[in-house]
C-alpha cells in the first residue's frame, strides 16, 4: 500500500460524519435510539397486555 493512499485513509478517518457533526455524537445518537426503542417496546407491551 502506497504512503499517500494510507495517508488519505487515515485523514478520512479523522473527517467528520455528514450528520451530527462529530463521530462521538453520531455514536451517542445510535445508542440513544436503542434506549428509546427499549423504552417504547416496554410501554407498547404494557399498553396492550
Amino acid at each position: 500500500m502506497s504512503e499517500p493512499l494510507l495517508k488519505n485513509i487515515i485523514d478520512d478517518a479523522e473527517s467528520d460524519p455528514p450528520i451530527f457533526k462529530t463521530w462521538k455524537r453520531l455514536y451517542a445518537a445510535v445508542l440513544f435510539n436503542l434506549a428509546l426503542l427499549v423504552v417504547l417496546f416496554y410501554f407498547f407491551g404494557k399498553a396492550f397486555q
Binding site: 500500500m1 478520512d12 445508542l31 436503542l34 417496546f41
Partner: protein, 575 residues
C-alpha cells in the same frame, strides 16, 4: 400459486441475476473481485450488510416464532447497535488502514501466520457448514409449500447465485444485496398491510394488538436476569452484543461487506445505519407474526401447518384418529372465536367483571384448542419422529399461500428467494476470499500473477456454490445432524472474537499465547456443548457460548503470555 404469482417470482429472480451480471461486469482484478475496488457508498454497504444477515429463515421462521412464542425474540438484537458503534471505532479504521482482503489477514500483521491460518480455518469450517444450511433450510420449506423436489429448489437458488457471483464477484454481490433488500422490504410491508386488511370487519388494528397482547404475544421486554432464559433484556444486551461483535467484526461474510466501502466514513455509516434500522426491522417482522396469530384467532388455522406431514398422517395409520381430532378442533375453535368476539365487545364497555369473565372464557377455549393441537403433534411424532413436529417455519408461508391476493403471493415468495440469495452470496464470496487469499495465495501458490488468482477466485466461488447446492440436496439424509450443524456454527464465534479483541486491545499479548489460548477456548466451548447436548448434564442458553469462548481466549492468552517469550509483532496495530 397461480400464473401471475409465478410470473412475479420468475421476473424477480431473472432481474436479480441480470442486475448482478450487469453491475459486476468489468471485474478484472482480485481487488475488484473481492473488494469491489473499494468503491461502495454507505447505503450500498448498509443494505448489503442487512441483506447478508437476513436469511430466508428470518422471513419464514421469525413470524412463526412470534406466532408461537411472542415477540420476545426482538431482545436478541439489542446488543447489535452497541456492537456497531464499537466496530466503527475499532475494526473499521484498522482494516481500512491495512488495506486487508480478509479480517484474518490483520491477524498476521498483529500476531503471526499460524494465528491467521487457524482463525481463517475456524471461519471456513463454521461458515462452510452455515452456507450449506442457508440454502438447505429455505429449500426444504419452499419445497414443502410449493410441492417442488428439494433438488429443484436448491438448484434454482444456488445456480442463480453462482451465475452472478462468479462473473461479477463482490461488486455483483453488494449491488444485488441492495436490490434484494429493497424487494424484501417492499414485499414484507405489503404482506403486513394485507394481514391487517384481512382481519374480520369490526376488528381494528388496535383491537388486534389488544388480542395479541392479551394472549402474551407482545412480550417484548423481560428485565429478569435468568441464564436459562434464552431471550431476555440482559441476554440480548450482553450475549447479543458478543454475537454481533463476533459476527460483524470477525466473520468475513460481514467484514467483506464494509471492506468494500469507499472510505472509513462510508463503511462506518453503513454499519451505523444497520445499528439504527435492524431492531425496528425485526420488531416489524415479529409484529407481522403476531398479526397472523390474531388473524388465526378468527379464521380456523390448520391443526398442523406442515402440509406434507399433515398429508402423511391423513393417509397413514393414524388417519381416523387425526380426523376425529380435526373435528374436535373445529368445534373448540368455534367456541374460541365466539368468546373472543364477546371479549372485544365487552372490552369497550369498561366493566372489569365482564371483561375478566370474557377473558377467562376465551382462555379456557384456547387452552382446549392447544391441548388438541398437542395431541396432533404427539400423533405426528409417533408417525414421523420428533423432527417432524416443529411447524414454525410453515406458519407464515402457509398463511401467505392461502390468504394473500394474486401477485402478492409471488412477491412474498420472491422475497424468500431473494433473502436466500443475498445471505448465501455473501457467504460464498467470503468463503472464496478466505480460501484464495488466506490459504491458496498465502500457503499454496505465492508467486501467481493477477489473471491466475482471478481464475482461481472464480473457481473457488463456483466450487463453494456447488458445495452449497450439494449440501442442501443431501442434507435431508443427515436427519437430526442438520439441527446440530446449526448449533455447531455458533461454537466458534467466541474464540474468533477473543482473538480479535486480543489483537485490538491487548498490546502486550503475543502470537503464540493467542494461538494456544484459542485452542484451549475452543476445547472448553466444545466440552460445554458436549456436556449440554451429549450428556445432558448442564443447561446453558447457547447465546452465552460466545461470552464463555471469548473470555477463555483472553484469560488463557494473558496467563500463557507470562510464560512465553514469543514476539508481540506489530503492537502498533493494536488500539
Amino acid at each position: 400459486m397461480r400464473t401471475l404469482d409465478w410470473v412475479v417470482l420468475f421476473l424477480t429472480l431473472l432481474s436479480i441475476v441480470i442486475y448482478g451480471i450487469y453491475k459486476g461486469k468489468g471485474t478484472r482484478t482480485i481487488r475488484g473481485f473481492f473488494l469491489a475496488d473499494k468503491s461502495m457508498k454507505w447505503y450500498t454497504v448498509a443494505l448489503s450488510i442487512m441483506a447478508t444477515q437476513a436469511s430466508a429463515i428470518t422471513f419464514t421462521s421469525t413470524p412463526g416464532q412470534a406466532y408461537v412464542d411472542g415477540m420476545r425474540f426482538v431482545q436478541f438484537y439489542f446488543g447489535l447497535p452497541i456492537a456497531m458503534v464499537i466496530l466503527s471505532i475499532t475494526a473499521v479504521p484498522i482494516f481500512h488502514k491495512l488495506n486487508v482482503y480478509t479480517a484474518y489477514e490483520y491477524l498476521e500483521y498483529r500476531f503471526d501466520l499460524k494465528t491467521r491460518t487457524l482463525t481463517s480455518f475456524l471461519f471456513l469450517i463454521q461458515r462452510g457448514l452455515a452456507a450449506g444450511m442457508t440454502i438447505y433450510a429455505p429449500s426444504i420449506v419452499l419445497s414443502v409449500i410449493l410441492g417442488w423436489d428439494i433438488r429443484i429448489t436448491s438448484s434454482v437458488i444456488g445456480g442463480a447465485i453462482i451465475i452472478y457471483t462468479t462473473s461479477g464477484g463482490v461488486k455483483a454481490v453488494n449491488w444485488t444485496d441492495f436490490q434484494q433488500m429493497l424487494i424484501i422490504m417492499f414485499g414484507m410491508i405489503m404482506a403486513f398491510i394485507m394481514t391487517i386488511v384481512l382481519l374480520p370487519s369490526g376488528v381494528s388494528f388496535t383491537d388486534a394488538l389488544h388480542v395479541a397482547g392479551g394472549m402474551g404475544k407482545l412480550n417484548l421486554i423481560d428485565f429478569s436476569f435468568d441464564l436459562n432464559n434464552r431471550y431476555n433484556f440482559w441476554s440480548g444486551i450482553i450475549g447479543g452484543m458478543f454475537v454481533a461483535l463476533a459476527y460483524f467484526g470477525c466473520d468475513q461474510s460481514q467484514v467483506q461487506r464494509y471492506l468494500t466501502g469507499q472510505s472509513i466514513t462510508q463503511s462506518r455509516l453503513g454499519l451505523l445505519f444497520n445499528g439504527i434500522a435492524k431492531v425496528p426491522m425485526q420488531f416489524f417482522i415479529l409484529l407481522l407474526g403476531a398479526m397472523v396469530f390474531v388473524f388465526y384467532q378468527y379464521v380456523q388455522p390448520p391443526l398442523f401447518f406442515n402440509p406434507v406431514e399433515t398429508r402423511k398422517i391423513q393417509e397413514g395409520a393414524y388417519a381416523e384418529a387425526y380426523e376425529q381430532l380435526e373435528s374436535k378442533y373445529a368445534e373448540v375453535f368455534e367456541e374460541k372465536s365466539k368468546s373472543l368476539r364477546e371479549y372485544i365487545d365487552v372490552k369497550s364497555s369498561g366493566d372489569p367483571v365482564s371483561i375478566a369473565q370474557a377473558q377467562a372464557n376465551f382462555q379456557t377455549a384456547d387452552n382446549r384448542a392447544n391441548e388438541i393441537r398437542g395431541e396432533a403433534v404427539h400423533m405426528i411424532k409417533a408417525q414421523s419422529g420428533s423432527l417432524a413436529t416443529n411447524d414454525t417455519n410453515y406458519i407464515f408461508l402457509s398463511f401467505v399461500i392461502k390468504y394473500l391476493p394474486l401477485g402478492l403471493v409471488g412477491l412474498v415468495f420472491a422475497c424468500i428467494f431473494a433473502a436466500t440469495m443475498s445471505s448465501t452470496s455473501g457467504e460464498l464470496s467470503a468463503l472464496a476470499t478466505c480460501s484464495v487469499v488466506d490459504i491458496y495465495k498465502r500457503h499454496i501458490k505465492t508467486d501467481g500473477d493477477e489473471p491466475h488468482y482471478l481464475m482461481i477466485s472464480r473457481l473457488a466461488m463456483a466450487s463453494w456454490g456447488i458445495y452449497g447446492i450439494l449440501f442442501a440436496q443431501f442434507a435431508s439424509g443427515l436427519g437430526s445432524l442438520v439441527e446440530a450443524v446449526n448449533i455447531l456454527g455458533s461454537l466458534f464465534y467466541g474464540t474468533l472474537l477473543g482473538i480479535f479483541l486480543l489483537g485490538f486491545y491487548f498490546k502486550w499479548i503475543g502470537g503464540t499465547a493467542t494461538f494456544l489460548g484459542a485452542v484451549i477456548s475452543e476445547a472448553i466451548v466444545l466440552t460445554l456443548f458436549l456436556l449440554e447436548y451429549g450428556f445432558k448434564s448442564i443447561t446453558v442458553a447457547w447465546l452465552w457460548y460466545p461470552v464463555v469462548g471469548c473470555g477463555v481466549v483472553i484469560i488463557a492468552a494473558m496467563v500463557l503470555n507470562t510464560f512465553l517469550t514469543g514476539t508481540n509483532k506489530q503492537k502498533s496495530f493494536a488500539i
